[in-house]
């Protein structure tokens, strides 16, 4: 079996579920004939036809809004926003309607849909093509927010997202779309939507991260290991709802925690994790909870984007500083 990339795992999951369930349809800008600007929907038009694979007009609120209507009718739309930076015109539809229809009708109508968007920086794209505003959505009741960080997790989590009876925002870390290849059996096996993944076990410090930053975090963990620091790495993956149990258990063991994310620091998801540590894990903490994050500024244009994205060096520095507490 040939190994596939994260991007290809997305396509594989979409094709699998569209075959298995006629109600699944995909829609978005440039997703049909062109197969998506990141080629994640390639081949679907040919296989499933233009009624189920829809090139929509260029209008994001519309993409979200019609998906809600479709979902209320029992379809399972998987709608793509071309980049996370273009999801905001749809913000109202997503948070005021998709996330609330079940509650508003006390279960009569619901929104089994997935909003997909490539997210994060580091691909040398223009302004607005590098957003990481997952925390905005993690604040919204009624949503689930899922971020895969490997081909296998992309496949299994996307299947779970499509099968989930409620709306899921599925953010694809585009910087690692093609960075790693993996064997991903096309077996239709979904992964759980309410569990963190422990990518590596260790005893001295817990590094909590998700998305493309898993890459720098794992590299930092390797380096630290060589320096004699035993590192546990957790990929949160589903950031809403948040599986704090896994994180708290880990920190209870390691007694130190650094959270790494690319998003701007203030009110990022790192804040929620640190807050829960301050509430439920305070007594186990030996050292301040640190966050290694993007700055409180917008992702710079490509010339300076590397300065913004949390680097291995910044992670190392942070861990080294809290290793001083004992």
């Amino acid at each position: 079996m040939p190994t596939i990339t994260l991007a290809e795992a997305i396509t594989q999951a979409l094709a699998y579920e569209m075959t298995a369930d006629n109600n699944v349809i995909v829609l978005g800008e440039d997703i049909a004939k062109n197969g998506g600007v990141f080629r994640t929907t390639v081949g679907l038009l040919e296989k499933f036809g233009e009624k189920r694979v829809i090139d929509t007009p260029l209008a994001e609120s519309m993409i979200a809004g019609i998906s809600i209507g479709m979902a209320a009718q029992g379809l399972k739309p998987v709608a793509e926003f071309q980049f996370m930076g273009f999801i905001y015109p749809a913000f109202d539809q997503i948070i005021s309607h998709a996330a609330r229809m079940r509650n508003r009708t006390r279960g009569r109508l619901s929104c089994p849909l997935v909003f997909r968007a490539p997210y994060g920086g580091g691909i040398h794209a223009p302004e607005h093509h590098s957003e990481s505003t997952e925390a905005l959505f993690a604040h919204i009741p009624g949503l689930r927010v899922v971020i895969p960080s490997s081909p296998a997790r992309a496949y299994g989590l996307l299947l779970a997202a499509i099968r989930n009876p409620d709306p899921v925002l599925f953010l694809e870390p585009k910087r690692i779309y093609r960075m790693v290849k993996q064997d991903v059996p096309d077996d239709g096996q979904a992964l759980p939507l309410d569990k963190c993944f422990v990518l590596r076990e260790g005893n001295d410090v817990t590094l909590v991260t998700w998305g493309a930053s898993t890459r720098e975090t794992l590299i930092a963990a390797d380096t630290l290991e060589q320096e004699g620091v035993s590192v546990e790495v957790i990929d949160v993956a589903t950031i809403k709802p948040l599986d704090m149990e896994t994180i708290l258990n880990s920190v209870e063991k390691t007694r130190r925690c650094v959270i790494i994310h690319e998003a701007a620091r203030t009110c990022g998801l790192g804040a929620e994790i640190a807050a829960q540590l301050a509430e439920h894990g305070l007594m186990s903490l030996l050292a301040p909870v640190q966050r290694v994050t993007g700055y409180d500024t917008v992702m710079p244009y490509l010339k300076l984007e590397k300065i913004y994205i949390p680097s291995v060096e910044r992670i190392l520095k942070s861990v080294q500083s809290i290793m001083e507490y004992a």
Partner: protein, 361 residues
């Protein structure tokens, strides 16, 4: 400089403000029972609104948007629909919602602040959408519903609508543009009641008509006298027929007037000129319909009195039912956010399960 495209907007009126026929009657309107049923439904709506306003004034109701003066729009539209069509209303569409089987008690409970009221008990309404507060957002839901119907090859159509103010929202336009592009089975009914709260129609847009906005979506836009229930039902019926046959969307601007405050928390006397309002009262939908029915020998003052009493009694009953609806559980506020409550929110549910219901229950 060549002319490459031409568009026109028409206006339909069947019954004028004196109650004279100025157009041949559509078939449905040749049936006395049908006419009386329409008139009856208009009265039910007026009575519901009157009751809701009383309830609100006496502290038994939240903010309520009456449809006073616009009964012919809601009722004509509702009457034109087939049972298996789907309705995606805006917040002033309680008339059509009742025709679809939503009970007056549900409507009162909704505005009284109870989410359970949108879990319609009538099976016929089960695919219809709940009241939508965010202006014009529902128009996109409606287009999505219409897409689903067309994908499945069903011969059903969707009716949706908004107010004159609602036509200024981007979502209005994105909806008509998508509906046009996909030739969806959908009818948009704009209740042009001349006001968006305090903002008059002519400040909302400089277009000569609202109907012409349909041209930006690539389909037909027409005007109808929104005080003429026969005309409204007629044009909506025709548009629905067209939609079910694959002829695509229609936008109907129903011209009427809001004879009430925007809602019970508004005071329209701040911005509506009395003479304009007086003039509008002369055009309102009951008077002309009564005159016509009377001329046709179908109606008289006695029947009118009996009907008004019946409607009023019916709504008083609904109000009682609303007031006596058993309180919801505090845990309801979290139990419907997700199909299955994620484990990490369970502690919040536990906390809610010990919460005391607020006073007043």
């Amino acid at each position: 400089m060549n002319v490459v495209a031409t568009f026109t907007v028409t206006f339909t009126q069947i019954l004028n403000e004196q109650g004279d026929l100025i157009q041949p009657l559509p078939d449905f309107a040749k049936d006395a029972e049908t006419l009386i049923m329409l008139y009856r439904q208009m009265h039910m709506l007026r009575a519901l609104d009157a009751r809701a306003v009383i309830m609100q004034r006496t502290g038994k109701m939240g903010t309520y948007p009456s449809a006073l003066g616009q009964e012919a729009v809601s009722i004509g539209m509702g009457a034109a629909m087939h049972k298996d069509d789907i309705f995606v209303p805006y917040y002033r569409d309680q008339g059509a919602m009742m025709q679809r089987g939503v009970t007056p008690t549900e409507i009162l409970n909704y505005w009284g602040g109870d989410e359970r009221a949108s879990n319609f008990i009538t099976p016929e309404a089960k695919e219809d959408f709940p009241i939508c507060i965010c202006i014009s957002t529902q128009l996109l839901h409606a287009a999505g519903v219409a897409y689903a119907l067309s994908l499945r090859g069903e011969k059903r159509a969707v009716v949706t609508g908004c107010g004159d103010g609602g036509t200024s929202e981007g979502d209005f336009y994105e909806s008509i543009n998508f509906a046009g592009a996909q030739r969806l089975p959908i009818v948009y009914v704009i209740n042009n009641n001349q006001w968006a709260i305090s903002v008059p129609r002519n400040k909302q847009t400089s277009t000569q008509t609202l109907a012409q906005k349909a041209f930006a979506g690539g389909f037909e836009g027409i005007q109808v006298d929104g005080n003429d229930v026969i005309a409204v039902r007629h044009v909506v019926e025709q548009a629905l027929e067209k939609a079910r046959k694959g002829g695509g969307p229609t936008l109907i601007e129903a011209i009427t007037y809001r004879l009430c405050d925007h809602t019970t928390v508004d005071d329209a006397s701040r911005y509506v000129d009395k003479p304009d309002l007086d003039k509008a009262w002369e055009l309102e939908p009951f008077k002309r319909f009564y005159a016509y029915l009377e001329k046709e020998g179908l109606w008289d003052a006695q029947k009118e009195k009996a009907l008004q009493e019946e409607c009023s009694a019916r709504m008083a009953e609904a109000a009682q039912a609303c007031i006596h609806t058993a309180p919801a559980q505090p845990t309801d506020i979290i139990d419907y956010m997700y199909e299955t409550l994620p484990a990490s929110y369970q502690y919040q549910r536990d906390e809610l399960s010990t919460a005391k219901l607020p006073e007043g229950h």
